[in-house]
Each structure stands twice: as structure tokens, then as C-alpha cells.
Subunit: 350 residues, 2 copies
């Protein structure tokens, strides 16, 4: 029995989460485990009603779960930033989910915007540091509102934070056992403080603790180029928070877009949170047309992390079958099936 | 008569610069202007010989020119960062080249890695702030070398620096007269100091001074997605230094890669510097196989900036003809012609 906190969130979040839970229940039943869900109505609606984004008491409750399953955050009537910072980023920080894990895998049958690239070329994982860098929120203004205004935004990297992220990435490259290669994505020639620390830690830990892993380095600007031109060069990429944000969205696009991309906010020693990385798609709300595969993929990642690797693999395999043999497109309204039917297809193919 | 400082630089830099000068001379002769070149042997070789990257006296001399034409910087025997910081970044800062201008245009006949995208889809310009942000180099370490080490890397944005960049971008969107749209690429929901300043300045200047320009905003993570999925959405993009570095390299890739992408480091009130944005490609040095079109494109941008817009347009048109009707590929060694022959083709088609 696993205790799961469910945060369906805004817009189409609840619709896709419903399909994720359907699949989780089905795979749990056949594999012999149970999931117990507690729903939290956090998001834009609650904020509009109560002015509250995330009560402190809820943060404490969330610490008690085996995992958190999140739909989508973002409401057309709420100023951008409030829910993202107040909910998503706050949970990442308070639950110390220091890894953002983003597999970038093109499934057979899925359309990529890249020419001449297929599933054999697009299969890598980004390990993004999730609690430091410019996301720390440090900075300020001088002479705000005057022509002499200066804004400072600080990126803070700690050796402790970088080390634990690097170790996770190295271990992931070991476990994945593909090319046994870890690429540090940075900007050593310009960010000479932040990436000096990253680079030293990268080599020290790699050399001492993971001699089997090949260490590679790419500037962030080169990384985005190779992702588009030669995605097959990558196995596992590790990077800091802001660069990770950018390259994982590019990754989502080359693996087929928001309809398929899932991510995990992981605290290996605590409570992790899994989410489809698309938004709340408010214009489709209630229409039963958006693609739930990303949310189902997030559910699979969750299973893997709580210790049900076999069940996770079965869900992923079923998603692949549905992509390859059933749905026409990943795009909302063009799948050839509605949201619930796609969920049913995944259950049927488990 | 224009006075041009020529910095051929490292690796294949001199080979491509030679073709650029050939084209400049040809178009100047037929258009009735002359260019007077002064060569500077800056780069990795000189650094190895003398330990000097960029003498102060040279910086002062460079201020006297109408423009600077740069080949490529980067030497296999020189530690990465030394030449980039000591030469390229130093010139940007000391000559206050506060704009990095990067047209992203797919020419007919040029191969893009994007599926279903042609010249009608890829035609936008990135205006990158070139003297502030994390490139300011501010930051430091605490407890360096210990497990408690902290590295801080600061992004500094000034209202003055942002304003002048925005005004340039708005003016560019007016002059370009395509969609009359300017997209601010930022991260307002996380970089709440830096992009608060940017966003306020963006709207204030746009509203007051450029009411005809449509203002658009995209987070940097969304920007890289749309560049790959819907590049046709963009007209002019304006952004800060680090984001600009990332998105312009992605832009270079979707317009066909390093063989074609050119950029300008522009001080509208001072001396500007133009460069092909690819590297020095040391492995091809002296082989007469690399593509000079990016360097020739940089020469065209230079002509435009010094006031020879017609000549610039003729060079660009000739590059397009050569791409469409002559060379087989932009890649080194696969053009169907050698470096010099491609230069000759551009001259012939002027
Ligand atoms: C919503 C936003 C704050 C968030 C981020 O920047 O991390 C998102 O883009 C993501 O990648 O999860
Ligand atoms: C060489 C490097 C310092 C430079 C930068 O980061 O600006 C380059 O990537 C560029 O875009 O011109």
C-alpha cells in the first residue's frame, strides 16, 4: 500500500490525472499492490476563492506521503508567477526535491520536429539540479524605478547541492547502462564562478567514485545545437537549474511535445513529485480532448521511484504501444480518441 | 574609403576571412567605395608566442576604425576561456558593443534539421544584450575548495543597458517592417529581479515610443520550443546576454549551422565587430575545405552597418544564389567546391 498525494491542479490537470490514476490502479491490481490517494484541491481556483496558494499545514501533510502526483498549475485569471512560485517551486524547495529528472525519449510512432531522426537517435536523460542557481531567488534592486536602476539576480551554487546532484546523475548513468556517459552542460568560459565549482566537483566525483563513466562537457549553447542536430550523442546530461529548464523544454519538443513529456522532482531521501510537463491548457478544459500520456508517463516514473520498477516498465511499454499502434497524433483533439479512451487504451495494453 | 581592422584569428579563420575580403573588394569596386584593411595577428598563435592576448594599445587603435572584421578565436593548445574572455568578450565590453545581432534566416537550398520547415518559416532576428547579465563577470567564492564551498554568479542588469538594447530592438523591428512584432524572451516567473526590470522597460518604451510594434513575451524555455516547432511565430526577439547566447546558437542550427550563421557585435555610436559565429575548426586548418559563407555574411552585415546597405544586400543576394544554385552542402568538405571557389562564386554572382 502506497500513500499518494494527488494535486490535480488547474485546467485540464484533473482530466489527465484521472487517466493516470486509472492506469495506476489497473497496474497495481495486476501486480499486487495498492495505492491510496488523498486529493488536494490546490491551484488557481482555490487561490481565487481563498487567496491561499499553499497552506503551511498542507506542506507538512505532504511530507507524510510516499509520493506526490501533480496535474498542472496555471490559471488564466491568476497573474503568472503566483502559482508557479507559490506551489511548484515552493514544494521543490521545501521538500528539498533536488533533482529534476527528465527522460527525453522518442517513442516509435511519435512525430518529432526533427528531420531524419527516429527513436534510435532520441533517447537521453537530463538530470537538472532543482533547488539552487538563479532559482534560489536571491537578488534585488538598487534605485528601482529610476533611470539609474540596477537589478541583480544571483545564481547560488553550493558544493553540497552540486555534489548530491552529480552523484545522482552518475548513479543514473551507471544504472541506465547505455553509453555510460555523463555530459556536464555548462558555460565554463563565462560563468567562471558557478561552473568552476561544477566542473571541479564533476571531475573529482567522477574520477574517484565513478571511473567507469565517461565524462563529457558541452557548453549550454553547443548543447542546444547538438540536441537538434545530433541528439544521439547524449546519454545522461547533468546541469544547473536554469540551463536545465531551457534544455528540458527543448528536449520535450524533440521527443514529441507536451503531450508526452513527463518529469520528476525527486528527493531520493524524501518525498518526490511527478508531473506531466505541459501546462494546464485552459482552453481545452472539460472537453475530454487533451492527451493524458504525459500524465500517465509521470505516473510510471512515480512507480519506478517508489520501488515498483516492473509495474513502471509495464506502463511505459503500454504507452509505447498506444503511441505506435493506436493514436494518430499526440495533439489535443487530433488523437483519434478522447482523453478517457486513451487512458483506457493504456490500461488495455498493460 | 572605410578603414577596417581585420582579425583573422585562429584555425580556419584566416581562410574564411580571405574570402570575405575578396567579396568586399569586389562589391566595393563595383559600387564605388574602397576598404582599407589593417591586419592584426591576434589569437592563439600570438598568445602562445608572446603570452599576450590583446595589448591595451591595440584596443585603443581599434577604436579608430570604421569596423572590425573577425575570423575565429580558439586554439587547441590554449585553455578554453583565455582567448574568449581576453579577446572576444574584452572587445565587446571595452568597445561597448552592447548589441549582439543575429539574423536567423533559412536561405533557399539550405538544409535545416527541422522537418516541414522552409525559408518561409525561418526568418527572424535575435537582438541580444551584449554587455551585461551574467557576462558582467561579477561573483565569487566562499570557502573555496571545502565541502562548504559556495559559488555566486551574479547577473547585473541596468536600466540604462536594458533601455538602449530595447530601443535598438524596437527600431530594428520598425525598419525590418515584417510583422512589426517584438518578442521579449525572459523568465519573469523565476528571475523576478532581472526580468522585472526588463519587463517594465519593455512595456514603457514600447508603449510610449513604438506604439506600432506589437509586444509579445515568451519564457526562455518556451522560446526554444517554439524556435523548433513554430519558428514562423518570431519576427524580432530581444533578450538578455546569457539567454541570447543559447537561443542564437539554436537559431544558427535551424538556419543551417555554423557554415552560414553570422553575427554582429554592435555599438551603434562606436566601432562594431562582425564575425562568422562558428569556431576556428582547427582540424580543417589549411585544407581549403571550410565554408566561407558565414564569414562572407558577416562582411555583408558589416557593410550594412557602415552605411553601404545596397552593397550589403547585393552580397546577401549572391550568397543566396550560391546556396540555392551551386553548392551541394554547407558542410566542410562536402560543398562540391573548395573554400576559395565558394568565395569566387559569391563574387561572380554579385
Ligand atoms: C513553471 C516554472 C516555474 C517551471 C520552472 O521554471 O522550473 C517550469 O518551467 C518547469 O520546468 O518545471
Ligand atoms: C565564445 C563565447 C564567450 C561567446 C559567448 O558566450 O558570447 C560565444 O558563444 C558567442 O555567442 O559569441
Amino acid at each position: 500500500m502506497y500513500k499518494i498525494a494527488v494535486l490535480p491542479g488547474d485546467g485540464t490537470g484533473p482530466e489527465v490525472v484521472r487517466e493516470g490514476l486509472k492506469v495506476l490502479d489497473a497496474v497495481g491490481e495486476s501486480a499486487g499492490f495498492k495505492l491510496d490517494y488523498t486529493h488536494y484541491d490546490l491551484g488557481g481556483e482555490r487561490y481565487k476563492r481563498t487567496g491561499e496558494v499553499l497552506p503551511d499545514s498542507v506542506v507538512d501533510e505532504l511530507r507524510q506521503f510516499d509520493a506526490i502526483y501533480l496535474g498542472a498549475i496555471g490559471h488564466p485569471d491568476v497573474k503568472p508567477g503566483i502559482l508557479e512560485k507559490g506551489l511548484l517551486l515552493r514544494l521543490r524547495f521545501e521538500l528539498d526535491q533536488y533533482i529534476n529528472l527528465r527522460p527525453v525519449k522518442l517513442y516509435p510512432g511519435v512525430e518529432t520536429p526533427l528531420k531524419d531522426k527516429g527513436p534510435e537517435h532520441v533517447d537521453f536523460v537530463v538530470v537538472r539540479e532543482n533547488t539552487e542557481g538563479q532559482y534560489a531567488g536571491a537578488g534585488g534592486f538598487l534605485r528601482k524605478g529610476t533611470p539609474d536602476e540596477i537589478a541583480v539576480q544571483e545564481s547560488i551554487c553550493t558544493r553540497k547541492g552540486v555534489d548530491r546532484c552529480l552523484r545522482y546523475a552518475y548513479q543514473y548513468a551507471m544504472k541506465r547502462n547505455k553509453d555510460k556517459k555523463l555530459t556536464l552542460c555548462g558555460k565554463t568560459n563565462v560563468l567562471t564562478y558557478a561552473f568552476d565549482l561544477w566542473e571541479r566537483a564533476f571531475h573529482e566525483i567522477g574520477e574517484k567514485e565513478f571511473p567507469e563513466i565517461t565524462r563529457d562537457y558541452a557548453h549550454v549553447d553547443a548543447t542546444v545545437m547538438w540536441m537538434v542536430k545530433n541528439p544521439e550523442w547524449f546519454d545522461v546530461i547533468v546541469t544547473e537549474n536554469m540551463f536545465g529548464d531551457i534544455i528540458t523544454d527543448l528536449g520535450a519538443m524533440i521527443q514529441g511535445g507536451m503531450g508526452i513529456a513527463a518529469g520528476g522532482n525527486i528527493n531520493p531521501e524524501g518525498v518526490s513529485m511527478f508531473e506531466p510537463i505541459g501546462g494546464s491548457a485552459p482552453k481545452y478544459t472539460g472537453q475530454n480532448v487533451v492527451n493524458p500520456l504525459a500524465a500517465i508517463g509521470a505516473a510510471a516514473m512515480m512507480l519506478d521511484t517508489i520501488g515498483e520498477a516492473d509495474a513502471a516498465a509495464r506502463v511505459e511499454k503500454s504507452i509505447m504501444t498506444v503511441c505506435e499502434s493506436h493514436i494518430k497524433s499526440l495533439a489535443a483533439g487530433r488523437m483519434g480518441y478522447n482523453t478517457q479512451e486513451v487512458g483506457d487504451l493504456v490500461v488495455k495494453n498493460l
